[in-house]
């Protein structure tokens, strides 16, 4: 299977499958670290808690057929899924809001997400320039649009307070950015050509409290 095939196939992949792919990739990455070269759908099923038939169905979606009695090649599948997720490319990302959470996310990206480069950091004027991260200074929000005209920016991480979320989002959209990683807990109003991935802390915490009461 070549990357082209993966690119062609991915148009038909459903949303729930897309949601599961990063998890497959994570598990496969762990297996690679442990030196595992191939794995059956039955064994993957044990590890991941999906049924073997669901795994076969999911992976068939993009043409990664396991072989009877051989299973899947771990490194090939890891790379294949990475390509499908677009992780064979680099992305330039700006951090908007540089409080504790913004700093944590910048640190996370810098340490763990090698394909994602921190291009710029923005905050309100009194925070701008007073701090820096690695060799990136924190700039005034007002300069965001001009910055995006000069530099390639693919995504913005939004970590501003709730009250400023929609305004920061509008600024980012106005600057032409098409991908938003949203940590503000606000459901943002967006044009159709901008994709927003939400990390709703409260949803996750409240699910935990639900399960503690089961």
């Amino acid at each position: 299977m070549k990357e082209n095939t993966a690119q062609e196939k991915k148009k038909r992949v459903s949303k729930p499958v897309i949601k599961r792919l990063p998890r497959y990739r994570r598990f496969l990455g762990e297996l690679m670290k442990e030196g595992v070269e191939r794995i059956s759908s039955a064994k993957l099923s044990e590890l991941m808690g999906y049924t073997a038939s669901q795994i076969r169905q999911d992976l068939n979606n993009f043409g990664a057929f396991g072989q009877q009695g051989y299973g899947y090649k771990v490194d090939f599948l890891y790379e294949q899924i990475g390509n499908i997720m677009g992780l064979d490319k680099e992305y330039y990302i700006i951090v908007v809001g540089f409080g504790r959470l913004g700093q944590a996310m910048a640190g996370y990206i810098d340490q763990y997400e090698k394909q994602f480069k921190i291009a710029g950091i923005f905050d309100v004027p009194d925070k701008a320039s007073s701090i820096e991260f690695k060799d990136v200074y924190v700039s005034d929000m007002d300069s965001l649009k001009a910055f995006c005209k000069k530099h390639r920016v693919d995504m913005a991480v939004l970590t501003v307070p709730r009250s400023e979320a929609q305004h920061a989002c509008d600024t980012v959209v106005d600057a032409g950015i098409k991908g938003i990683w949203n940590f503000t807990s606000v459901d943002l109003k967006l044009p159709e050509d901008v994709y927003c991935e939400n990390v709703h802390m409260s949803d996750s915490l409240h699910e935990l409290s639900y399960h503690l009461n089961e």
Copy 2:
């Protein structure tokens, strides 16, 4: 509908519905802030992007029937969902790992999650005591179990580095804590009676990169 009814009903509620409930509650909370007193499933559908029929089905699950031509009472439904999620109670939570992410999460909980009280903070010895959050000092991980014997602790937020994730998890489980909010990006090995809610940053970021390439 009384809380008892909600408690009885929730046993039969499916996992995807549970996953949607915090989102319903968030939207209802916004409507309350805007002074909206009642809402139809059609209007909720417009706001939330679920179909009206799915909304009616979801909410019927725990006995919150909308009335024809009247719709749902917003504050009642908000409270009802909160009760189902266990948000009518208080929870005592410890933060394990007090780097940037641990500090960000402590700040988030303190500011936005009033039912969740920060009971303690733990980190490795050289970080312990050197910092504090509000009136809580950072204690040595070695004292975690003893702390949990003395104080009520319902949950632990895990924000330690990946390499220490399983060890920190084992410590928390050994101390008798039954709920883990896991930010370590590691799929933890857990006994069956411990519930773990994972926030996998990378899954969410990689989904974003997927959609940027669509």
